[in-house]
């Protein structure tokens, strides 16, 4: 009887606590990250006052409202997606497509960061046009804030803190899965939600092959010689550089995330499953 009474009261208390424990939010007026749409928060689409020398401010005031109008999705120019989910890992430590000898953002060195040159203008040794394309150039105050952020080492502390609580997974790829890009393609990027253990990046964990989409035979794939390494200063980005630029064809990248020696984060947590994505390189016009 005593035990039965305890169970009754225990269940009653549990039900009471659970009933009043709160419900999920309705999300009204918020973006998909739970930030107010009108505030231009970390992912918002509107500006939020003067740009400060931190990545979140730059994202909210420059990349999201201005750059990601074009630089988004599978057809993002140069594979550079500048929405909040992708921009950092596709910028910091990643070689530029237009001038591969320069990193898009070289932490601590704004003068040799190609992204900075692209927003500063044609007098700074860029290929192609000044950014933002077809828009008025960014204000000098905004450029100064971006330069200062790069000078400070291009940190992204809040994202790093958030990453600690995230599952280790592939965040995005460039080119995206099933995307079509113009030849030649010099580099493939795979970005992750957390930093990758560089000692596990090798031929057994990362492979690039050319496939024949018309054939179902297993032997129809041809291994491609490529070098895989992590981006300097941004170990959440895996760069795959083919020995020769990829010509027209269909290609597949495979990342082994399971089994012995699988690709893992710095806490030795592997991806848990193999990942692959395919893309098509079509002849240049």
């Amino acid at each position: 009887m005593q035990v039965g009474r305890y169970r009754f009261w225990g269940a009653l208390v549990l039900l009471g606590c659970a009933a009043a424990a709160g419900c999920a939010g309705n999300g009204q007026g918020l973006d998909q990250n739970g930030q107010p749409i009108s505030s231009g928060g970390t992912t918002g689409g509107t500006t939020n006052g003067p740009v400060t020398a931190d990545f979140q401010s730059i994202q909210a005031n420059v990349f999201t409202p201005i750059c990601s109008v074009c630089h988004i999705g599978a057809s993002a120019p140069e594979g550079l997606q500048l929405d909040a989910a992708h921009s950092y890992n596709l910028l910091v430590g990643v070689p530029s497509n237009e001038q591969p000898n320069l990193l898009r953002v070289k932490a601590g060195d704004p003068d040799n960061s190609y992204m900075v040159r692209k927003i500063e203008g044609p007098n700074f040794g860029i290929s192609g046009m000044q950014m933002p394309l077809g828009e008025k150039p960014l204000s000098q105050a905004t450029i100064n804030a971006i330069r200062q952020w790069v000078t400070n080492g291009a940190p992204n502390a809040p994202a790093a803190a958030a990453a600690a609580g995230q599952m280790f997974a592939v965040q995005t790829t460039a080119p995206l899965d099933q995307a079509t890009v113009k030849a030649p393609l010099a580099r493939i990027l795979v970005t992750f939600t957390q930093d990758v253990d560089a000692s596990l990046v090798n031929d057994t964990t990362v492979a690039l092959e050319r496939i024949d989409p018309t054939s179902t035979a297993t032997g129809s794939a041809q291994n491609m010689s490529a070098a895989a390494r992590l981006a300097p200063g941004n170990p959440a980005v895996l760069m795959i550089t083919p020995s020769a630029q990829l010509g027209p064809g269909v290609y597949r990248v495979m990342v082994r995330g399971a089994g012995g020696g699988a690709l893992a984060n710095m806490n030795a947590t592997p991806l848990g499953a193999n990942t692959s994505f395919e893309f098509t390189v079509e002849p240049a016009q």
Binding site: Q2, V3, R5, Y6, R7, W9, G10, A11, V13, L14, G16, C17, A18, A20, A21, G22, C23, A24, G25, N26, G27, Q28, G29, L30, D31, Q32, N33, G34, Q35, P36, S39, G41, T42, N48, T52, D54, Q56, S57, A60, P155, A157, P158, A161, A164, G165, D197, S199, L200, A258, G261, A262, A264, M266, N267, A268, T269, P270, G272, A273
Partner: protein, 366 residues
Amino acid sequence: MIGRYSQFTLRGLLFVLCFAAYGVRAEPYLAVQLGLKCGQCHVNPTGGGLRTTFGDIFAQTVLPAQHLDTPLDNWTGQLGQYLRAGGDLRFDASLTQAPNTRSVDQFASEQTRVYMEADLIPNRLLAYADEQIAPGGALNREAYLLYWSATHDWYLKAGQMYLPFGLRLQDQSAFILTATGINMTTPDSGVEFGWEHGHWDAQLAVSNGTAGGAVNSNGKQTSTQLIYVESVWRAGVAANFNAQSGGAKSAYGIFGGLRTGPISWLAQAEITNDQSIPNGQGNKQLATLLEANWLIARGNNLKITQEFLNPNRAVRGAEETRWSLVYELTPIQFAQIRTGFRWNDGIPQNDAQHQRLYFVELHGFF
């Protein structure tokens, strides 16, 4: 505004009602069930990792539904006069679903960990290591020297260690563990002073504040907690302050445990304030947990958990919840089968916040 404060007040009142009426105290459910401190069953005074001889015997004779007799003595982890060992292995099959997302079902080795203790000076000085050997490469979780006073009323620990902050749950994805960032995946290097006196337990740790990573500033992380432990209840408070160059992060929590007949309750509520996030966005959080563990029969435990997370206390309508129902069967010594599901709910526009996880886990331990 009023609604939010009312909700918070109500939550606080419920917390008090749930525990203060009986008194209070905290720790994962076995400690609450037994009315013991964590250090009774674990070498680490704050819990987790290698079991003590008492913990080993309990795990083989009391925890399982049936104890299979063997010609051997019970395992006590003793490898020699000075060395003791233990381990945990978790392997699971899971199915993860989320709206507009392809379901993922997989087998996975979640974790294999081995523990070693060297009693350098019996009962006074020990060296301890907790190594994760799978999946992936070996990874050190804890490695420290622990010095006990002659009367075991205080100790000093130095090395890499888990930090003291509230309930040390097994589920590392619990909101209360991810909100603070203090969990068993983020050990830190530093020193810890512990004080144990009668019903009281207290710890104060000072560490690098980089979760074991490279030091990038002179700022340090301070973690402290104070717990009062009675036989059927326990209550505690915890605080953490991490002064890093990008901005300080602070966390404050209250936690407790209560045994009502066959049901052991756990609860924790905490607020965090992360100043390293600029523009005041997403920097103040509230996370709570309420868990009931119903010991249906020996070796059979039903766990129901309700969690709540307000990821930004300055924004209304972004709250997340998670319910878990887990059945834990320990049929024989050294082996446990856990099966259950976790049901997430969040804002409609974020599919990931509506994840459903179904799993079956085999847990081997010694």
